[in-house]
């Protein structure tokens, strides 16, 4: 069924009885050409592009819970391409270009809103680091603008510019950045993949990966064994567990990241603001809730919930930066499981096992990567060769030291990125 305003009108006039399922709930077949483990944003996008770009239909996505139930459904919805290092530059640029037009491509309103992303700086040193990054963005063909205090004040007058501790000096402005409705992205890709013939199988937990003679042959699941020629693992915070089923250890540590939403409020923040002196970023959803977050809790965790020190630190940063949000009440906090890599950048690569592919290490920046990651992983799965935009996301880069992408410069400690 094609969605449109006309369709909504027609259904409204006929009692909304004509709406049909956005995706099927098929029984798993005994065998597929490609199995994707993980029905989150990245997995669903991978499925979509496998069908759409490579014409592959004999593909299934195996999801242990419900579609889009992982980090795609519990993030702060920020979309941007403002990285500084080769590898990340071309990848996120590619991803952003896919975001632009995603509604029309998917015929599903994912509400991408290019309301701009502001990275504030508070010292000359920070400014120069952002300038370096901004120049890398422009070199890549993306947009970046250096705003001084006056320029910034016009956009976000409510900041505490003269904050007694860390006055705001300016910002790196990325106009094409913004937000999107996170669940809709998962659903849109799911619907797109399903309508192209891909089986999305929910409540199907992978319990084993079958390998024979150094090549993958299929998986064991809570709904029986499924054979496959190729298997792609794209399970974010659960990467280590799934990879362990194939005897692999990954350069991943799983951490909890909390995020927050306030009660609905009339529009007050019309862009994305990122604080330079504390980990804090905020936007306002179309429903009116302020959506914001900060740094990870910093300890390895699979609990998908965090603790108060991280909560309070985020709130303190918010109050330092924009004390006008003080009366907004936090409605809900939640946690996701982040696949932290040793350099803060992702991995999209083949593994030492033929036919087994890996997509992980998104740390806490996976949302904006969804279309790019799906496209690049689909390319790798379909062709066996890396997509040019993700060629640097190699699994062996830590061992060899070649092409490490440590944007934060914090070194090989997983939780510091």
């Amino acid at each position: 069924m094609r969605f449109s305003g006309l369709r909504v009108l027609k259904e409204g006039l006929t009692g909304n009885r004509g709406w049909t399922a956005h995706w099927r709930d098929p029984e798993p077949k005994p065998a597929y050409d490609i199995l994707i483990i993980g029905g989150g944003g990245h997995g669903l996008a991978t499925a979509y592009y496998l069908a759409q770009v490579h014409g592959l239909r004999n593909v299934a996505v195996l999801e242990k819970g419900y579609l889009g139930g992982g980090n795609i459904g519990r993030n702060t919805t920020i979309v941007r391409a403002n990285y500084g290092l080769p590898g990340n530059s071309e990848f996120y640029s590619h991803s952003l270009s896919l975001w632009e037009g995603l509604e029309q491509e998917l015929n599903f309103n994912v509400m991408q809103s290019q309301r701009g992303v502001l990275n504030l700086f508070h010292s000359d040193g920070q400014r120069d680091a952002y300038v370096r990054r901004g120049n890398a963005m422009v070199n890549q063909g993306d947009d970046a603008i250096l705003l001084d205090r006056d320029g910034l004040r016009k956009r976000v007058p409510y900041l505490d510019f003269d904050n007694g501790r860390f006055p705001v000096q300016g910002a790196l402005y990325h106009p094409r950045g913004g937000t999107a409705r996170h669940d809709a992205v998962a659903w849109g890709f799911a619907r797109g993949a399903d309508s192209r013939g891909i089986d999305l199988i929910q409540n199907c937990e992978v319990t084993g990966i079958d390998v024979a003679n150094g090549a993958v042959t299929g998986v064991q699941t809570s709904r029986g064994a499924i054979r496959a020629k190729k298997v792609g693992i794209v399970v974010a915070g659960r990467s280590s567990q799934v990879a362990a089923m194939a005897g692999m250890r990954l350069p991943i540590e799983s951490h909890v990241l909390q995020a927050f939403v306030t009660e609905g409020l009339k529009p007050v923040i019309d862009t994305v603001v990122t604080y330079g002196m504390g980990h804090f970023y905020i936007s306002q959803s179309d429903k009116g809730g302020l959506v914001f977050g900060g740094d990870i809790d910093m300890y390895a965790s699979y609990a998908a919930r965090g603790n108060l020190p991280a909560v309070e630190h985020v709130m303190e940063a918010g109050m330092a930066l924009m004390p006008m949000i003080g009366k907004a009440r936090v409605l809900r906090s939640w946690g996701g499981i982040m696949d932290m890599s040793p350099d803060g950048s992702p991995i999209i690569d083949k593994t030492g096992i033929d036919g087994l592919y890996l997509n992980c290490g998104w740390c806490y920046g996976g949302f904006k990567a969804v279309p790019g990651s799906g496209d690049c992983f689909a390319h790798l799965l379909a062709t066996g060769r890396p997509h040019p935009a993700a060629a640097r996301f190699r699994l062996d880069r830590f061992r060899t030291g070649v092409g490490i992408m440590d944007e934060e410069g914090t070194g090989a400690q997983h939780n510091l990125h």
Partner: protein, 976 residues
């Protein structure tokens, strides 16, 4: 209206307040909701999507409808629950999400368009034409969305945070909680009893049952008096325990000042972290509505809330009340109303076997199938065996049963357990370690059962805490059974609301199912059920039941969505109390801070420290003028700079030398006593962690300096290496950064300056470059280091911090006598750039020793942290970006930090990127801009001209690649 003889508030104290500009009078003890109901006001708000008229539904914090804005300016508080807000003289509340007025709200037209605005409609439209989303559709949606508004002004109130510790935290002060606190308190345990209400007692305040022959309200008052007299018990009213966290930590919000006019010096709210060895969850239960057509009109309320308004506040929300229920409990509402002399139209009970009454008419096996009344309920449609008929009533008290408040028990990922007999979820034992549920929140609904469970939970906690347990002595009270037959949604046409605030109806849930959003999380997210400010407290279980029905599954298989903190919303300002203004990070001041400020130095942040950027001289208009003068002053005479912010770590022990060999890339065990050496420290991954000088003060005694930024990291690293990797080595570390004030004295006249202060003057041959040792300065024992970050003959003079201020003043005054003076960070930066010395602008975490031209410092003779991994092939590639100096040779004589480097004729695009500029400044010494940067194969390209492009600052120029050391490359001045 008020009902004579009812209520537990002070009738003698009239309290005036305003709602939407109209002046009303209430009583002390009233909430805004009870006071407005007493004044006959039923319309309090508008719903989120359809802007339907909304009145009070509940009598507690779970209220989804009656949300108002309180206060103005920086104190404006949106989305305040009228059912929680206490009235006080001067209270000003306003309705929200309505324009032009609450009564005539233009956007109520949405309700007519409802067929087109069903579940998830926005995912299916607004996509064409593409450009319209951001220009037209989204702005319109955003304007319509949201409830109340922030003022846009900085929060003008004060907030606090605090910690508390106890043996037993009792959450909720109804019958179960009071009993638990009493048992534990009498046993001598440290108890905190917290309740979100202004008054403790819970449902005892809202019901009419007797305990020990007294009213529940009186009994509660006696218990509270006993508890208040115990030193080991802390009573926290107006305190919502909002979250359960690890190891017995709870988040709680105390509303300190919302119930009165702002008092000077009083915080508005206090956010508590309570650490409890054990906890009793006695949070009670929340009544749930029944979904039926048009069940959302003002005047339709929860049956228990009607009882609460009557018995606690002496208010009846209507003149002719009808009850609609599926359980016995709701019949109490009718009984209490009749007893108070209020007209009860009928009790409509969906159960064929419902009990009858002599006091009022009971329609058994009947349902409400419709309602009417534009801004408030006027009539309902009753369907019974006799058919459908209209019944006039202005208040409908609804009860679909009670949902135990399991929320906190689920905050640590626990899932509640379904109990078929009460058709509700109850806490799963052990879901929160150390927590026991008691009373209504555990599915025990009679007063006696609540008292028993509260007492037993406390006794169990006492046993676990190793305390003696008193015998159980329960007061006598009612023990009526709780009988109910589930009724979730009444069949029929029309819109039957589940989530009143977000306007989610039974149809929306069914449509979601039709579109295969069948998982409970999908349904929630697709319809927004339970995502409003009340987080579905009243509506979620009912919606779940409707979903279960539509999908043909049972409720337990359907499962719940996750319960997440906070239990009820908490202001960002309370959670982040203290963060505003200067509070976000501690401030560190050097001993010269005051003197620097007196000299007019602008102070800039350097990590947590403040350091002077320049020391402006009279007449200087810009920082550049001051900086240039200070640089020349150091090069020509002498300058003084406070360098105390650098980390100083005192290292002692027989294995100190060996240890330093291990943590530094280069050798330190060979350093002679009385000498200083530059050290390069790597991370284990082979990148540069930090650099600095380390002095050997004695055979087993070193003093390490770190950069300002990395002082904490280095200290932690040393402790890690020592405790974790080399525990058998005898070496200890003490941070002495704060203990010593240290000043750089740099320039050709530095020795002359020192000699004015040192007790024993330095001779020319003494203290060669990189020497160190003890000195006496103006009679004080200090340390002198012959080190230089400026390339001049220079010293760093350290004295105990208490002498820092006077030494700085003395040094600067005498320097001025020699034609010198103080210099700040800007000049320090230029001086180091002229010499090619690096800072964290260069060692930014991605560079290796090789990259900064120090590859040969990594000693081949020994192992050290980072050595093995620095030899990874990727870190040894000749093509890496490596440190170079740059000087402008193009028409534009400017180099800017953050610009990128390209081959002379290349397009400035990523594929051609060759490097970048890390630091740049105008050098008055050489008369042009000097810069450092990283360039592919840099050191092999000296003399080459490259293109520098700074898109952001619109600067493009040509630079010559030069040696990083631009001034005095032989170092004669430094050593001289």
């Amino acid at each position: 209206m008020r009902v004579a003889g009812k209520g537990v508030l002070d009738r003698s104290r009239s309290v005036p307040f305003r709602f939407d500009g109209v002046r009303y009078a209430g009583l002390e003890g009233d909430t805004l909701a009870s006071a407005l109901l007493a004044n006959g006001v039923r319309l309090l708000g508008r719903s989120f999507k359809y802007h339907r008229p909304r009145g009070v539904l509940t009598a507690g914090s779970e209220e989804p409808n009656a949300l108002v804005t309180v206060g103005r300016g920086g104190r404006q508080t949106p989305n305040t629950r009228a059912t929680v807000q206490e009235i006080y003289e001067g209270l000003e509340a306003r309705s929200q999400n309505a324009w032009p007025s609450l009564k005539y709200d233009l956007l109520s037209v949405n309700t007519l368009a409802a067929p087109f605005l069903g579940a998830g409609f926005y995912y299916k439209t607004f996509m064409w034409p593409k450009a319209f989303w951001e220009k037209l559709y989204e702005p319109a949606i955003r304007r319509a969305a949201g409830l109340g508004a922030l003022s846009g002004l900085p929060d003008a109130d004060r907030y606090e945070r605090a910690y508390a510790f106890c043996d037993l935290l009792v959450i909720g002060a109804g019958p179960a909680g009071l009993m638990a606190a009493l048992v534990a308190g009498r046993a001598g345990a440290d108890v905190i009893l917290a309740d979100e209400d202004m008054r403790m007692g819970g449902r005892l305040l809202a019901e009419t049952q007797q305990i020990e022959g007294r009213s529940g309200q009186v009994w509660a008052g006696e218990v509270l008096a006993e508890l208040a007299a115990m030193e080991n018990v802390r009573l926290m009213t107006r305190t919502t325990v909002a979250g359960a966290y690890d190891q017995g930590t709870f988040a709680a919000l105390e509303r300190v000042g919302h119930h009165r006019a702002r008092a000077e010096g009083q915080p508005l709210e206090c956010f508590w972290r309570i650490v409890a060895k054990r906890s009793v969850l006695a949070a009670g239960a929340l009544e749930r509505p029944i979904a039926f057509a048009d069940n959302d009109r003002p005047g339709i309320m929860m049956a228990g809330a009607v009882r609460a308004y009557l018995n606690r506040w002496g208010v009846c929300p209507g003149r002719a009340v009808t009850v609609f229920a599926n359980n016995d409990d709701a019949h109490r509402t009718a009984r209490d109303l009749v007893a108070a002399g209020v007209d009860v139209v009928a009790v409509i009970d969906s159960r064929a076997e419902a009990p009858g009454s002599d006091l009022f008419e009971v329609h058994r096996g009947a349902q409400v199938v419709g309602t009417s009344g534009r801004l408030g309920l006027e009539a309902i449609t009753l369907r019974s065996a006799a058919g459908e008929r209209r019944v006039e009533t202005d208040c409908l008290a609804v009860s679909g049963g009670w949902n135990p408040s399991v929320h906190l028990s689920c905050h640590m990922n626990g899932r509640p357990t379904w109990r078929e007999d009460i058709a509700s979820f109850v806490p799963t034992p052990g879901a929160v370690p150390g927590m026991m549920a008691a009373g209504a929140c555990n599915g025990a609904f009679s007063t006696l059962a609540c008292l028993r469970e509260g007492a037993e939970a406390a006794r169990a906690a006492l046993v676990e805490l190793g305390r003696s347990v008193p015998p159980l002595d329960l007061p006598a009270t009612e023990d009526e059974p709780y009988r109910l037959t589930p009724l979730w949604a009444v069949a029929g046409k029309g819109r039957a609301w589940l989530d009143f605030q977000n306007d989610v109806t039974v149809k929306d849930v069914r449509q979601a199912v039709a579109e295969n959003y069948r998982s409970v999380e999908h349904m929630k997210r697709y319809t927004t059920q339970g995502m409003a400010t009340d987080q579905g407290k009243s509506s979620n279980v009912t919606a779940l039941a409707v979903l279960a029905d539509a999908t043909g599954r049972g409720i337990p298989e359907t499962g719940t969505t996750s319960f997440r903190p906070p239990y009820s919303p908490i202001a960002i300002a309370a959670l982040g109390a203290g963060g505003q203004g200067k509070g976000f990070a501690p401030e560190r001041f050097t001993t010269s801070h005051k003197a620097s400020r007196e000299r007019g130095a602008p102070m800039i942040e350097a990590g947590l420290w403040y350091r002077p950027s320049t020391f402006p001289a009279p007449g200087e208009k810009s920082w550049r003028q001051s900086c240039d003068r200070e640089v020349r002053m150091v090069r020509a005479a002498v300058g003084v700079c406070d360098v105390s912010t650098l980390g100083k770590i005192d290292i002692q022990g027989p294995d100190a030398g060996k240890f330093l060999d291990f943590v530094y890339a280069n050798m330190f065990s060979t350093l002679k006593v009385g000498r200083v050496r530059y050290g390069l420290m790597l991370r284990e991954d082979g990148t540069v962690m930090d650099d600095g000088t380390t002095a050997r003060l004695g055979e087993h005694h070193f003093l390490m300096t770190t950069t300002t930024a990395a002082a904490g990291d280095v200290m932690r690293h040393l402790e890690f290496v020592s405790q974790g990797l080399r525990p058998d080595w005898d070496v200890r570390f003490t941070s002495v950064t704060e203990q010593w004030a240290q000043f750089a004295v740099a320039g050709p006249k530095s020795r002359a300056l020192l000699n004015e202060l040192l007790d024993a003057p330095l001779e020319a041959g003494d203290w060669p470059f990189m020497a160190c040792g003890p000195v006496r300065v103006l009679g004080v024992a200090g340390r002198l280091f012959r080190i230089s970050f400026s390339g001049e003959q220079a010293y760093e003079l350290a004295v105990p911090a208490r002498y820092g201020d006077s030494l700085f003043r003395a040094l600067v005054a005498r320097a001025e006598g020699l034609g010198g003076g103080a210099y700040g960070m800007e000049a320090l930066n230029v001086l180091r750039l002229e010499k090619g010395f690096i800072t964290h602008a260069e060692i930014h975490g991605r560079v290796t020793a090789y990259d900064i031209g120090m590859g040969r410092m990594v000693s081949a003779k020994k192992d050290c942290i980072g050595k093995t991994m620095s030899q990874r092939p990727g870190l040894m590639e000749a093509d890496r970006e490596r440190l170079v100096g740059l000087k402008p040779v193009g028409a534009v004589k400017l180099i800017t930090s953050g610009a990128h480097l390209f081959a002379k004729g290349a397009e400035p695009v990523r594929e051609n990127d060759q490097g970048y500029v890390t630091s740049a400044a105008y050098s008055p010494t050489v008369g042009h801009v000097v810069a450092l940067g990283f360039l592919r194969r840099g050191p092999e390209r000296l003399g080459e001209v490259v293109k520098m492009v700074d898109h952001l600052r619109a600067v493009e120029t040509l630079c010559e690649v030069v040696d990083p050391v631009i001034f005095d490359p032989e170092g004669g001045r430094m050593r001289g």
